[in-house]
């Protein structure tokens, strides 16, 4: 088994365009979620959402251009953007995770057709196809090797990372580019989430109402955000051959499926997942100093995850959800929160759960990081959880190098 290292992280996220930005956000006490207006059934509605400052001046879907930029930044940090890197890049495998894909292209392509029966734009298929993101990354960077795409709702990009890690561990690949991306802030998609009654306080008409409050007694739901985060992963042999300095090591991953319900998560399924990750990393629960929880701010999801974490880790590990800071980036959440976990490990600081004021009694049996960042004990590793609709669970374990 080869060891696996992260040598580059490219970030296009709310309030962050680099891993250094993410490190700064670890100590932030102010949410990046902003109130914005959407039109639902003819009525203006205020909700919170996390937008990036990414400016898409092209005709490509937003998910594509955000992903291309995240990959460009990741390759740059891994020192693979030069012509010297081009030869090496050809052998990299590509793993892309996105829950929904290029949604803006799909909505725009059919908008006229649904509204007025006008012809559908002829590029709706190629702009809207889910694998288009991976294809554009491959074409732009000359990646001629194996490509994999992952559509597993909120676990999509975590599953992409886990799969890449396994392939490198088994020496099937010497390196990989993994990219998570989601751009769900489109009118119809926001309306669909509001309709499901899981959006944080969506029916208050004051622009200051509504907050994403993971684990809180008064939590009312999630707030969506857009993001793309890319990683360059390399085997220990590759790291040594190129003489690059790893950012962190990926110790292992765990995956499981609840096989119970589309939206109601399972404590057992999540416990199996976290235990599998510990086993793959060859660690015991005591070795984990920080857990970046999936906790989105929904009533049921947070309770189930707190119960599962408590069952395995008790009150030893520090736990927080960074979704109160940046919102829920759905299929990109696993990648974005892996970046937060890496930033936490490298700065030895666990970020607080923003929005958490009064811990809900059903979430009280774990050790929350509230208000301010807390130091992570030296030599401890960190875990990042992604527990998705559909019952897909992925846990990733990282360690400082």
């Amino acid at each position: 088994m080869s060891r696996v290292y992260v040598t580059g992280v490219g970030v296009v996220a709310p309030g962050a365009n680099s891993l250094d930005d993410v490190r700064r956000l670890i100590s932030s006490r102010e949410s990046l979620l902003q109130p914005e207006s959407v039109c639902v059934a003819g009525n203006a509605l205020w909700l919170l959402a996390g937008r990036t400052d990414h400016n898409n001046a092209t005709r490509k879907p937003r998910a594509v251009t955000m992903a291309l930029e995240a990959v460009r930044r990741g390759l740059q940090q891994a020192n693979l953007d030069s012509s010297a890197g081009a030869v090496y890049r050809e052998g990299l495998r590509l793993y892309v995770g996105s829950g929904i894909g290029p949604l803006d292209a799909v909505e725009a392509g059919y908008e006229d057709w649904f509204a007025s029966g006008k012809p559908t734009h002829p590029l709706t298929v190629v702009r809207g196809m889910h694998n288009g993101i991976a294809a554009e990354i491959s074409i732009t960077n000359g990646l001629t090797g194996c490509t994999r795409t992952f559509a597993m709702a909120c676990a999509s990009s975590a599953a992409a990372i886990a799969s890449a890690v396994r392939d490198i561990q088994r020496r099937d690949a010497h390196g990989a580019i993994v990219c998570g991306v989601e751009t769900p802030l489109t009118p119809a998609m926001l309306d669909a989430w509001i309709a499901m009654r899981v959006y944080a306080n969506p029916h208050k008409d004051s622009r200051h109402s509504g907050a994403c409050m993971p684990f809180d007694l008064h939590r009312s739901g999630l707030a969506l955000s857009e993001a793309s985060v890319a990683f360059v992963l390399e085997s220990e042999k590759s790291v040594a051959a190129r003489g690059v300095k790893p950012i962190v090591e990926v110790l292992g991953s765990g995956e499981s499926s609840d096989a119970t319900h589309l939206t109601n998560p399972s404590v057992d399924g999540q416990c199996v997942c976290m235990a599998a990750a510990l086993n793959d990393a060859n660690l015991s629960p005591d070795d984990i100093g920080y857990i970046n929880a999936h906790a989105t701010g929904t009533v049921v999801g947070d309770r189930v995850e707190a119960t599962a974490i408590g069952r395995i880790f008790g009150t030893e590990a520090l736990v927080s959800s960074t979704k109160g800071l940046h919102g829920h980036a759905l299929g990109a959440a696993g990648a974005l929160e892996a970046a937060f976990t890496i930033a936490a490990l490298t700065s030895r600081l666990a970020p607080p759960t923003l929005g958490l004021r009064e811990v809900g009694p059903d979430c009280s049996h774990i050790r929350h990081v509230v208000d301010v960042a807390e130091p992570i004990a030296p030599s401890k590793a960190a875990m990042s959880n992604s527990f998705a609709f559909g019952g897909h669970n992925v846990s990733l374990v990282f360690a400082a190098t």
């Binding site: 005709r59 012809p119 734009h121 002829p122 590029l123 190629v126």
Partner: protein, 82 residues
């Protein structure tokens, strides 16, 4: 006085430049669309906007005849005379 063909040509050119800003600087109606940098997907994209602008319809066979702006101008001219 501007002829009907010239009017069509300037409107088509405007659609090309607005639809594909990346080629605006080197736009030359005498250069083939391919040499301007438009691929087959770009052509169906362009034809989509031309169909809306001129209220005409192109058959798939007609798309295969299009290499230059002038080919589009001729097709639109003939269709608008019918």
């Amino acid at each position: 006085m501007e002829t009907q063909r010239e009017k069509i040509r300037s409107r088509v050119s405007a659609l090309v430049v607005s639809g594909f800003p990346s080629i605006a600087e080197r736009f030359d109606p005498k250069v083939s669309l391919q040499n301007l940098g438009l691929d087959s997907l770009d052509l169906v994209d362009l034809v989509f906007s031309i169909e809306a602008e001129f209220q005409v319809k192109f058959d798939n066979d007609e798309l295969l005849q299009i290499s230059f702006i002038e080919d589009l101008v001729n097709l639109i001219y003939e269709k608008s005379r019918r």
